[in-house]
């Protein structure tokens, strides 16, 4: 049982590329820590440094309290699952799982027993004599995990292990991975680019961007209190609507485009720092789920938009609308779905399925101000105090 502790860890490559910048992160015993971020953000590099596959340029890495910067992967007692599983194709499942034990010169019967146990945990018992080529994607993934857990490592590292699976299988395997992790109760670092995966699986989630750690927190806190623009835009699907806006002089309302949305007292109490932004530009964040359609007689701040597209999902309607404000993008936060040309006031809202709305209509949203987020446009940081 061990913890992982990174202090000011940096990785600079030979060609000068600074992949990981001053990363300080700790993972507790048995904790499931997810590293998430867009490609190139340094999450895989960070993982590989913990594994010992990349040298650490500066900073300290401790596993179980011991400084391990200069230790080989074997000495660190870590196990890793790769994105492509990297199973030995010429060995059977049993041989794959037992290879590391064989290298440690464990007696054969002991190896067989451990392999058998591991296979049972993973539901692989009937496949022990098959070769990887005869297995399905999900089974191969489990063999990869089996190979990792049979060694009872101190740390468990996973590099996007579910990326190669189809959507349905991925959801299944998410639960599997969590179940196994809880069972072996080992500090785990899991890398993914999929924020949904991060949110559903992690005890804590660390968001990275361009080599810098943005925020590390419990998933719900990341959702409720993003520290900066990037985290706000990255976490949550569909993504948060971010608009350029101006605070009124008395900081009592926020002007988004031509509309003025008054901020109730509770909101201003929750974000006292807004007072400093009277008459200044800020960025407003509204999650799609915080824009329900206004019903007759609803009081409170409203926002009106022109409907561009309505997607009926059955459980809800996803309404794509436009307002006359400028949308703000956090570089790297959006997925491929989001159009690079979206500079206009497009937004997305999730409303009740019974809402009567069609393309071309004007729709009024009852803004849920409790969920509103505010950001300083220059520092990109959230405005709280």
């Amino acid at each position: 049982m061990a913890t992982v502790d990174m202090q000011q860890v940096n990785k600079v490559y030979e060609n000068g590329f600074h992949a990981v910048k001053d990363l300080s992160l700790d993972v507790g015993e048995g904790e499931f820590m997810v590293l998430v971020g867009p490609s190139g953000c340094g999450k895989t590099t960070a993982l590989r440094m913990v594994a010992g596959l990349e040298d650490i340029t500066s900073g300290t890495l401790r596993i179980g309290g011991k400084v391990v910067n200069d230790e080989t992967p074997k000495e660190r007692d870590i196990a890793m699952v790769f994105q492509n599983y990297a199973l030995y194709p010429h060995m059977t499942v049993a041989e794959n799982i037992g290879f590391a034990l064989k290298l440690r010169k464990m007696p054969k019967p002991d190896i067989a027993a451990k392999v058998k146990d591991t296979a049972e945990i993973l539901g692989l018992t009937e496949w022990l004599d098959r070769k990887p080529g005869q297995l399905s994607g999900g089974q191969r993934q489990r063999v990869a995990m089996g190979r990792a857990i049979v060694r009872e490592p101190s740390v468990f590292l996973m590099d996007e292990p579910l990326s190669n699976l189809d959507a349905k299988l991925r959801v299944q395997m998410r639960a599997e991975v969590q179940r196994i992790q809880r069972r072996i109760n080992v500090a785990t670092i899991y890398v993914t680019h999929d924020q949904i995966e991060a949110m559903t699986m992690g005890d804590r989630v660390a968001v990275m961007r361009s080599g810098v750690l943005q925020q590390v927190d419990h998933p719900q806190h990341l959702y409720d209190r993003p520290d900066n623009l990037f985290v706000a835009a990255f976490i949550g699907s569909p993504a948060m609507n971010l608009y350029e806006a101006t605070m009124t002089e008395d900081a009592g309302a926020v002007r988004i485009g031509s509309q003025e949305v008054p901020l109730p007292v509770v909101c201003r109490d929750a974000h006292p720092g807004l007072a400093r932004f009277g008459n200044k530009k800020i960025v407003v964040g509204l999650r799609p789920e915080h824009l329900p359609a206004a019903t007759d007689g609803s009081t409170g701040p409203h926002l009106v938009g022109n409907v561009d597209l309505v997607e009926a999902l059955g459980s809800e309607l996803v309404v794509h609308f436009t307002i006359d404000a400028r949308r703000v993008r956090a570089e790297g936060a959006s997925s491929e779905d989001e159009d690079a040309t979206a500079q206009h006031g497009e937004g997305v809202a999730r409303v009740e399925p019974s809402t009567r709305v069609k393309v071309g209509d004007k729709i009024t949203f009852a803004v849920n101000v409790a969920g509103m987020q505010f950001f300083d446009p220059e520092t990109e940081r959230a405005i709280w105090n």
Partner: protein, 279 residues
């Protein structure tokens, strides 16, 4: 590629099959000629017009080849030289192919290009110096006098083939193995090598064929310890060319390698595509 329905006799007699038959004739007729001629009686070899089928069938050419012309020892010479050279090529070539394919060496690219250039080198360019060197060493008419040059000459192409196969192995193999706790040599032996086995077979076949058929160096260095190509070429005298014996020996020479190539044809073909042809 039209997809017309093929029914009835169209299934058998159509443009493709006729062309295929022509191809079979193109390749097969000279081979047929070679094989049946070897079974003609020595005197029937000189018939004009020639016998299109041996009457009578005779094994005289074969006994002549082995008894009179000592073809058996040529066969053994070729076998020894070829097997030794192929073994050396595979051992050194696999190691080099692994290094040049998967290890972070500077100047890999230059090395590969140089090796490629050496593999098309004309033997004539080195034959004279090698001759004098071997003469000084007293290695003319020896096994090693051919094995060593063959190994050196056929290594570049084998390295090329092996390296290409090695490149196809996923990068994570070494890392996984390292995490499992294996050292680099153990990794190569237990993980990489088994995965590269098809490539090894391909290189083996190519090298075997190259050694078996090599002529110029064998002719120059081994006047007495003849290999098959030299032996067959020197059957008889300037006045009398014993074709019968030559063909009998040829059939014996072609059959084993023909069988080997047939068994390993998958490797030959994949070697031609990924090895020689692609970059």
């Amino acid at each position: 590629m039209g997809r017309r329905k093929r029914t009835g006799w169209h299934r058998v007699i159509n443009g493709v099959n006729i062309s295929a038959l022509l191809v079979v004739l193109f390749v097969g007729l000279p081979l047929y000629w070679l094989i049946i001629s070897s079974f003609k009686t020595p005197s029937a070899m000189g018939d004009s017009p020639p016998q299109y089928w041996p009457r009578p069938l005779s094994g005289a050419n074969y006994s002549q080849a082995f008894v009179q012309y000592d073809f058996g020892s040529y066969f053994i010479h070729s076998l020894v030289v070829t097997l030794c050279a192929t073994a050396l090529v595979l051992i050194f070539g696999t190691m080099a192919g692994y290094a040049l394919g998967r290890l972070p060496m500077r100047g890999k690219f230059t090395l590969m290009v140089t090796l490629l250039m050496i593999s098309v080198f004309p033997e004539i360019a080195v034959i004279a110096p090698l001759y004098t060197l071997l003469k000084d060493l007293g290695w003319l008419d020896s096994y090693q006098g051919l094995i060593i040059p063959y190994t050196a000459f056929f290594l570049p192409f084998a390295i090329w083939i092996l390296r290409n196969y090695m490149l196809g192995i996923p990068k994570e193999m070494e890392e996984t193995s390292r995490i499992d706790g294996a050292g680099p040599i153990r990794t190569v032996w237990s993980i990489i090598l088994p995965m590269a086995l098809p490539g090894v077979f391909t290189a083996a076949i190519f090298t075997f064929t190259a050694c078996w058929t090599e002529f110029l160096m064998a002719l120059t260095f081994n006047i007495n310890l003849k290999t098959i190509p030299v032996g067959i070429a020197t059957f008889g005298t300037a006045l009398e060319v014993p074709f019968g014996t030559i063909f009998a020996a040829s059939v014996v020479a072609v059959v084993p390698i023909g069988i080997l190539v047939f068994i390993f044809r998958k490797f030959v073909i994949s070697g031609l595509t990924s090895g020689a042809v692609k970059g």
